[in-house]
């Protein structure tokens, strides 16, 4: 399972998601791709109309991600991160 790619500024080390054109900290334009596969679920809600759970995840690499939350993970829990087959960032309960 692959994690989620975030972007780290080659000049100053700031990490962002999604990718930007220029680094907001130093103005750098060179981004290094970095996979992040873990984070902390800070808040989660259920979208009633779509029957899907959506959460904010502080990724281990730094950037905040908006993720689909699977496997019943709760706020404050450490979650794994992956790209779902249909594209979106997915956060799921770590059952290792």
């Amino acid at each position: 399972v692959n994690g989620v790619v975030v972007y780290r500024c080659g000049a100053c080390g700031e990490a962002v998601f999604p990718r930007l054109l220029l680094c907001g900290r130093c103005g750098g334009a060179d981004w290094l791709e970095e996979e992040t596969d873990e984070g902390v679920l800070e808040e989660v809600t259920t979208v009633a109309a779509a029957d899907v759970r959506i959460g904010s995840v502080r990724s281990a690499a730094g950037p905040m991600l908006v993720a689909r939350v699977e496997g019943g993970a709760d706020a404050a829990e450490t979650v794994r991160l992956r790209r779902g087959a249909d594209g979106p960032v997915v956060a799921y309960r770590d059952s290792r």
Partner: protein
């Protein structure tokens, strides 16, 4: 040549509707708002030489196509893509244009015809980040993002649902006296707490009803127009202040320079939490508990149209809605909901969720001339 300080001399809201008739489109809504605002100012279409427009659904047309379709010959034109912040943005631009002499009379128009399908397209295609990273979740529109933001606000402030409820409850009391509001029936705390969840903790009454409609203002100088006028006296704006890396609870607003408390307060109300965030940063709210449980129940003049939460959100018209209500109040034309002796108003705009929360906040102070 400039004709001196700019003033707002006309304001009009084309009634919002949940289900507009066939044949009503974004262009016809904007045209109705244009004529209504001109009429309120005692002016004719031929007096207008500046046009400012905000709309999500005008495409593929832009402001200049609208000018053509409205029969306007112009020396100045502007368009704002800033959604809930487009009204204050365009008012600031129009004031500068009139005071610089680039235009003598500017019509500011904002509106959309939004059905369920258009709204979904708008929500899922709002920007590149939304299209690529949020729509596929699927995130169900901005409600989920503002649920997450509200949870952060709850952690930071200790507020609970019955506290946030005070905003839609108070606004519904104003809406009862506004014939243009789409929801006017009494709303109780029990109704609120029992309402269907949308994205907990947000319920139906925390989310704006999607409607179709349009708003308009007329800005001019040199005493044009037949009635009293309202003068914009101060502006501020804060755009992308934290690059979406913060918690979304800080808007970037600062209190306006010391002066008397404005008689009327309007905060962009896409969600109750944002009313609190904006008014806290603007220095209007001292103590949250007192504001929610004493000042609002006592009838403090905040979002006196009922706001978007009761009157409805007609797309980009939401950015102009509170400005129109503020001007109508300051001109003494608010009927049953008229606030006595209102001479000054603070109006804020907010909007443009880039990825996690809105990136645009702007505000102005208005005074009766």
């Amino acid at each position: 040549m400039s004709d001196g300080p700019a003033a707002i001399v006309g304001a009009f809201e084309r009634p919002y509707e949940r289900r507009p008739a066939d044949g009503v489109d974004t262009g016809s809504l904007l045209a109705e708002a244009f004529l209504g605002a001109l009429s309120s100012a005692g002016l004719e279409p031929g007096d207008v030489d500046g046009l400012a427009v905000a709309s999500f659904t005008l495409a593929p047309d832009s402001a200049i196509d609208l000018a053509w379709r409205l029969g306007l010959r112009l020396s100045w034109i502007a368009q704002s893509p800033l959604g809930g912040a487009s009204g204050v943005d365009l008012l600031r631009q129009a004031v500068r244009a009139v005071e610089a002499g680039d235009a003598t009379t500017v019509a500011i128009l904002a509106g959309d015809r939004l059905g369920a399908a258009e709204f979904r397209r708008l929500a899922d295609g709002y920007n590149r980040a939304t299209r690529e990273e949020l729509a596929p979740l699927p995130f169900g529109g901005p409600n989920s993002l503002f649920s997450l933001l509200t949870q952060r606000h709850m952690r930071a402030t200790g507020l609970d649902r019955s506290d946030y409820a005070q905003i839609p409850l108070a606004q519904r009391r104003w809406a009862a006296a506004n014939p243009l509001a789409v929801y006017r029936s009494t709303l109780t705390l029990e109704d609120y707490l029992a309402a269907p969840p949308v994205a907990p903790p947000l319920c139906r009454f925390d989310c704006v009803p999607v409607v179709s409609g349009a708003d308009a203002l007329i800005v001019t100088a040199g005493g044009r127009g037949t009635g009293p006028a309202v003068r914009p006296v101060a502006f501020q704006a804060a755009y992308d202040v934290d690059l979406q890396q913060g918690d979304g609870l800080s808007t970037g607003f600062r209190p306006f320079a010391d002066g008397p408390e404005p008689d009327l307060v309007y905060a962009y109300d896409d969600y109750p939490v944002m009313v609190l965030a904006q008014l806290a940063d603007l220095g209007v709210i001292g103590d949250l508990e007192r504001f929610l449980h004493e000042e609002l129940p006592a009838g403090r003049a905040v979002n006196t149209s009922g706001g978007q939460l009761s009157a409805g959100q007609a797309g980009a018209a939401g950015g102009l809605h509170h400005l129109v209500e503020a001007v109508v109040q300051l001109l003494g034309r608010a009927g049953e909901r008229q606030v006595e002796n209102a001479r000054s108003a603070l109006v804020s705009g907010y909007g443009m969720v880039l990825y996690r929360y809105g990136a645009c906040a702007n505000a102005c102070l208005l005074e009766r001339a």
